[in-house]
C-alpha cells in the first residue's frame, strides 16, 4: 500500500515540480539587479505596458461579456430561424486564433486592401482609402481578441442557462418583467459563477495574448516581457514584469477556479427542475435575434475564413509552396506525443487522488494545473533560462557534457513546455470523466477480486475512453493554434501552420500567411465540429 502510494505521489510531485520550475525561475529573478543602462526607457515603457494591458483587458471583457451572454441567452431560451445551427456554429470562432483575425482585418481594411477592391469593382476607380475605416492598433487588437475568445463566455453561460430551472424563468414572468428585464434581473445573476469563470478565462488569455498584439505592435505586459528580453537584453527585467503579470493572472486563476466550483454545484442540481420550453419568436423579434447571431457568426468566423480563402486563391503560388504534408505531420507528431505524456500523467494523478484521498496529493494536483495560467512566452523564456542556468551551474560543474541541446530547440523541450501549459486540460478532463464513475464501481470490482491495476485497466480506462478522445482533440486544438512556445523552442527545419503564418506575416508577406492560416482554420474547425456536442453538454439532444 505504502509503496503504491509512493508512485502516485512521485508522479504528482514530478508534474508539480515541472510546473513550478518556470514560476520559480520568474520569481527568483525578481530581486536580481536589472541593468540600469536603459533605466529611463524602462520606466517610460513599463507605464505604457501596464496602461495598454489594462485598456485591452477592460475592453475585451466588456465585449466578450456582451456578445457571449447575449448570444447564449438567445439560443438557450428562444427559437428562431437557424437557432439550432447557431448553437454550435457560434463556437467555430475558436478555430480562428486572434493573430489570424488580425491578419484578416489588415488584409481587408488596409489602404488598397480587399475592401478597396470590392468598392472599386462595384463603383469604379476612385480613392476610397480615406473612407475605409482602419481597424489596426489597439482597436484591431481588441476586435481580434474579442471575436476569437467570446466563445469561452458563450459556452459556459450557455451551459449554465441550459440548467436554469423553468421556475426561475417563470418567476421573472410572474413579476411582470419584460424579456430583457428578466434576462438581467433573474437569468444573468443566476448564471454569475459560470459567466465569471468564462470571463476569467478570457482575461487570462487576453493578458497572455502574443500574436495579434505583436502584429499590431501594441506594447502590453506580455509583448513587453518579450521585448525587454530581446531589445534590452535584460532577462531580469523581463522576469520582473512577468512577476507582476503572474501575480495578476494567478488572482484571475483563483477566481476562475472558485467560480467553476460554484458553477458546477449549479449543474448538479439538474434532477429537480422542470424542463423548460423554448419561446418561439415571431416577426420583428425573430428577425432581430437571427440578425444578431448571424452578424456575430459572420464577423467571428465567415469574415476571417473568406479573407484567407480569397487571398489563398488570389496568390495561389503561396499555396503551392506550402509543404502541407510536412506541416500536417509535424502537427500530428506534436499532438500525439504531447497527448501521450499529458494523458499518462494525468491518469496517474487522478487515479492516485481517487484511491488515496491524500490531502498533499490534492494540493500538488491543484498546483500542477496552474501552468495554464502562465503565458506561453513567459513559459518558453523561463524554460530556456532555467536550462541554461542548470546546465552552467550544475551539469558542467560536475564535468558532464552540456544538456542544452537536448532541451533547447528540440522536440523534447517543446513537448515539456506544452506539457506544462496544457496539463490542466488533460487533468481536468480526466477528473470530470472520473466523477461520472461512481466509487461503488471500484468497490464492486475489488469484491470480485480485481486488483487495483486490473480495476484501472479493465474498468476505468474503458469508462474514460470518451473523455480521453475529447482531451486529445482539445490538446490538438490548442497545439495547432499555439504560437509563442513553438516559435521560441522549435528545432531546425521544423514548422507548424501557426509558425509559417506568423513568419510570413512578420516579414510583410501577409498574402503568404493566408494559405497556412486557411489550413489552420479548417483543421481547427473540423476538431470543433467533432467535439461541439461534447462541449455543449447536450445529453438531451
Amino acid at each position: 500500500m505504502f509503496k503504491n502510494l509512493n508512485i502516485w505521489f512521485l508522479s504528482s510531485l514530478l508534474v508539480s515540480i515541472f510546473v513550478l520550475i518556470p514560476i520559480l525561475t520568474v520569481f527568483s529573478s525578481f530581486f536580481e539587479d536589472t541593468s540600469n543602462y536603459y533605466q529611463i526607457l524602462k520606466n517610460t515603457f513599463l507605464l505604457e505596458y501596464i496602461t495598454n494591458s489594462l485598456i485591452l483587458l477592460f475592453c475585451v471583457l466588456i465585449f466578450t461579456f456582451l456578445i457571449g451572454t447575449g448570444t447564449a441567452y438567445l439560443v438557450s431560451f428562444f427559437e428562431f430561424p437557424l437557432s439550432n445551427f447557431f448553437k454550435w456554429a457560434l463556437i467555430l470562432s475558436f478555430a480562428v486564433p486572434p493573430y489570424i483575425y488580425a491578419y484578416s482585418l489588415t488584409a481587408f481594411f488596409e489602404n488598397y486592401g480587399t475592401a478597396f477592391t470590392i468598392l472599386k469593382n462595384l463603383f469604379g476607380d476612385a480613392n476610397y482609402n480615406r473612407n475605409i475605416p482602419k481597424f489596426d492598433g489597439m482597436l484591431g487588437a481588441i476586435m481580434s481578441i474579442t471575436f476569437s475568445l467570446y466563445a469561452y463566455v458563450y459556452i459556459l453561460s450557455r451551459a449554465s442557462f441550459l440548467y436554469q430551472s423553468q421556475n426561475l424563468i417563470d418567476l421573472g414572468k410572474n413579476l411582470g418583467f419584460s424579456k430583457f428585464k428578466s434576462f438581467y434581473k433573474v437569468i444573468l445573476p443566476a448564471a454569475r459563477p459560470a459567466i465569471i469563470a468564462g470571463l476569467s478565462l478570457v482575461a487570462m488569455e487576453t493578458l497572455a495574448e502574443f500574436g495579434a498584439v505583436d502584429f499590431f505592435s501594441i506594447n502590453t505586459l506580455t509583448t513587453g516581457i518579450y521585448n525587454s528580453w530581446i531589445t534590452f537584453d535584460d532577462l531580469a527585467f523581463a522576469n520582473r514584469i512577468s512577476s507582476f503579470l503572474l501575480l495578476f493572472i494567478f488572482s484571475l486563476f483563483i477566481i476562475e477556479n472558485l467560480s467553476r466550483k460554484k458553477a458546477k454545484y449549479h449543474f448538479n442540481a439538474r434532477g429537480g427542475f422542470k424542463q423548460k420550453e423554448k419561446i418561439k419568436l415571431n416577426g420583428r423579434q425573430s428577425f432581430l435575434a437571427f440578425t444578431l447571431c448571424f452578424l456575430i457568426f459572420f464577423f467571428s468566423f465567415i469574415f476571417p475564413l473568406s479573407q484567407m480563402l480569397y487571398w489563398t486563391l488570389k496568390f495561389p503560388e503561396n499555396l503551392f509552396d506550402l509543404q502541407i504534408i510536412d506541416l500536417l505531420l509535424n502537427t500530428i507528431y506534436l499532438t500525439l506525443l504531447s497527448s501521450l505524456f499529458l494523458i499518462v500523467f494525468s491518469l496517474i494523478s487522478n487515479y492516485g487522488n481517487r484511491v488515496t484521498k491524500n490531502k498533499t496529493l490534492n494540493i500538488l494536483s491543484t498546483l500542477s494545473i496552474s501552468g495554464y495560467a502562465i503565458p506561453g512566452v513567459i513559459l518558453a523564456i523561463a524554460f530556456i533560462t532555467f536550462i541554461a542556468w542548470f546546465d552552467n551551474s550544475i551539469i558542467k560543474s560536475l564535468g558532464f557534457t552540456s544538456i542544452k541541446k537536448v532541451f533547447i530547440g528540440s522536440i523534447l523541450g517543446l513537448v515539456i513546455v506544452y506539457f506544462i501549459r496544457f496539463y490542466s486540460l488533460a487533468f481536468n478532463g480526466i477528473k470530470s470523466g472520473y466523477e461520472k464513475i461512481n466509487i461503488s464501481v471500484d468497490e464492486s470490482a475489488y469484491l470480485l477480486g480485481y486488483s487495483k491495476r486490473k480495476t484501472f485497466m479493465n474498468i476505468h480506462v474503458p469508462f474514460l475512453r470518451n473523455s480521453l478522445l475529447f482531451i486529445i482533440i482539445l490538446i490538438s486544438l490548442e497545439i495547432i493554434r499555439e504560437l509563442p512556445i513553438t516559435l521560441i523552442l522549435r528545432p531546425f527545419n521544423f514548422e507548424t501552420f501557426a509558425t509559417t503564418a506568423y513568419i510570413s506575416a512578420s516579414e510583410d508577406l501577409l498574402e503568404a500567411a493566408a494559405a497556412p492560416s486557411l489550413f489552420l482554420i479548417l483543421i481547427a474547425s473540423l476538431f470543433i465540429i467533432i467535439t461541439s456536442k461534447y462541449i455543449l453538454r447536450e445529453n438531451n439532444e
Partner: protein, 342 residues
C-alpha cells in the same frame, strides 16, 4: 505492437539531437522564398545540407545567446547591419569571414571579419508628385525631415523598427547624439499620424493621400510594382515617386542583409562556403531579381524594375561604417523614445 510504436516515438525524440552530418546550421531571419531556393541550390552543388531555423531576428539572437558556447548555430542571416553589429558587440560572433573571395566581393565599409553584407538596400524618401513640388525636395536630406515645412505631411514606421534604429544610428554617427535628439523631435512634430504599419504601409499612405512623404526601403516599391502584391498595390505604387536623399553630401543611407559567423560554430568551414556562395554573381542575380535588393558585388545589375523606377545613378553613403549602426543602436532608440516617437 503498441508498445513498440510508443517506444519508437519516444526514442525519436532524442535521436533528432544526435544526428551528425555534412551540414551548416543557419539561424535565418530573412524569409524570402528566393533564399530557400538558393540554399537548396547550394546543397545540390556541394552536398552540404542547410538546416534552417526561421524566426524573427530578436528571438533567434536570444537563442544563440542563451545557448552560448553550445549553440548549434553556424550562421546568423538577417536583414539589417545593426543586428549583426549588435551581436558582435555582445561577443557572440567570431572572425573568419576573411577569405579572398569575400574580401574581393564586398567593399570594406560593408563588412567586418565577423559579418558581411550579402545584399544592399537604401532607406529613401517616397513622395507624392501631385502634392510635393520639385523645389520642396531640392537638396533634401534625412536631416531635412525635421524641417517644419513637412508638418503633418510625413509618415514613417515605429521607433522599435530596426531599419529606423539603423538610420538614426547613422545620423548619430554623423551629427552627434545631441543634434539627433533635436532632429527626432522635429520629425515627430511633422508626422501625419502616429507611427504604425510596415514600410509598404507607409508608401501606401502616400498613395492614398494620408501623407505627402514617407520613409521606406527601396525594394518595397519594386515589390509593389512587380504585381506580386496584387493589381491594386501595383496601381498604388505608380502614384508615388522615389527620392534619394543626401545627394549633395555623404550620400543615401545604405543598409545590408548580413550573414554573421557565430562564435563556436560547429561547421565553420561550411558556413564560410555558404557565404561565398551567396556572394557569387549567380546568387546575387537571384537576390536582385526576386527580393529587389541592390547587389552586394560589382558586375551584377539590380532588377529592371528597380533600375527603371528608382534609378541607378545615385550616390551611396560609403563613408559611414555600417558597424556604427550596431554601436549606436541603443542611443538611437533612446533619442527616438525621448522625442515621443511611438
Amino acid at each position: 505492437m503498441k508498445k513498440i510504436t510508443i517506444f519508437a516515438l519516444i526514442t525519436s525524440l532524442f535521436l533528432s539531437t544526435l544526428a551528425v552530418a555534412n551540414e551548416v546550421n543557419v539561424f535565418n531571419a530573412r524569409h524570402y522564398k528566393a533564399d530557400a531556393e538558393l540554399y537548396s541550390k547550394f546543397t545540390s552543388m556541394t552536398g552540404i545540407k542547410v538546416n534552417l531555423i526561421n524566426g524573427k531576428s530578436g528571438a533567434l539572437e536570444k537563442r544563440i545567446i542563451e545557448e552560448g558556447a553550445d549553440s548549434s548555430a553556424d550562421l546568423y542571416i538577417t536583414a539589417d547591419a545593426g543586428r549583426c553589429g549588435a551581436m558582435d558587440a555582445k561577443g557572440h560572433l567570431q572572425g573568419g569571414l576573411t577569405s579572398a573571395a569575400i574580401k574581393a566581393a564586398v567593399p570594406k565599409s560593408f563588412r567586418t571579419s565577423k559579418w558581411t553584407g550579402i545584399a544592399k538596400r537604401a532607406r529613401i524618401i517616397y513622395y507624392s508628385p501631385e502634392r510635393v513640388t520639385g523645389a520642396e525636395l531640392s537638396g533634401m536630406s534625412y536631416e531635412g525631415l525635421a524641417d517644419p515645412k513637412w508638418k503633418g505631411r510625413l509618415v514613417i514606421r515605429k521607433s522599435s523598427n530596426i531599419y529606423n534604429k539603423s538610420l538614426v544610428a547613422s545620423l548619430i554617427e554623423n551629427n552627434g547624439k545631441k543634434a539627433t535628439a533635436e532632429w527626432a523631435k522635429g520629425v515627430v512634430a511633422n508626422m501625419a499620424r502616429d507611427s504604425k504599419g510596415n514600410d509598404r504601409a507607409q508608401i501606401m499612405a502616400v498613395a492614398a493621400g494620408e501623407a505627402d512623404i514617407a520613409v521606406a526601403n527601396t525594394y518595397y516599391l519594386a515589390l509593389m510594382l512587380s504585381g506580386k502584391k496584387g493589381a491594386e498595390q501595383q496601381a498604388a505604387a505608380k502614384k508615388v515617386k522615389a527620392f534619394f536623399p543626401n545627394q549633395n553630401g555623404r550620400g543615401t543611407h545604405m543598409n545590408v542583409s548580413c550573414a554573421a559567423l557565430v562564435k563556436g560554430a560547429p561547421n565553420k568551414d561550411n558556413a564560410v562556403k555558404l557565404v561565398e556562395f551567396l556572394l557569387t554573381p549567380q546568387s546575387q542575380e537571384h537576390f536582385t531579381n526576386n527580393t529587389f535588393e541592390f547587389p552586394m558585388i560589382d558586375g551584377v545589375s539590380p532588377s529592371p524594375l528597380v533600375v527603371n523606377n528608382l534609378g541607378l545613378d545615385f550616390q551611396q553613403d560609403m563613408k559611414t561604417k555600417l558597424a556604427s549602426y550596431g554601436k549606436n543602436q541603443a542611443a538611437a532608440l533612446e533619442v527616438m523614445t525621448a522625442a515621443g516617437w511611438k
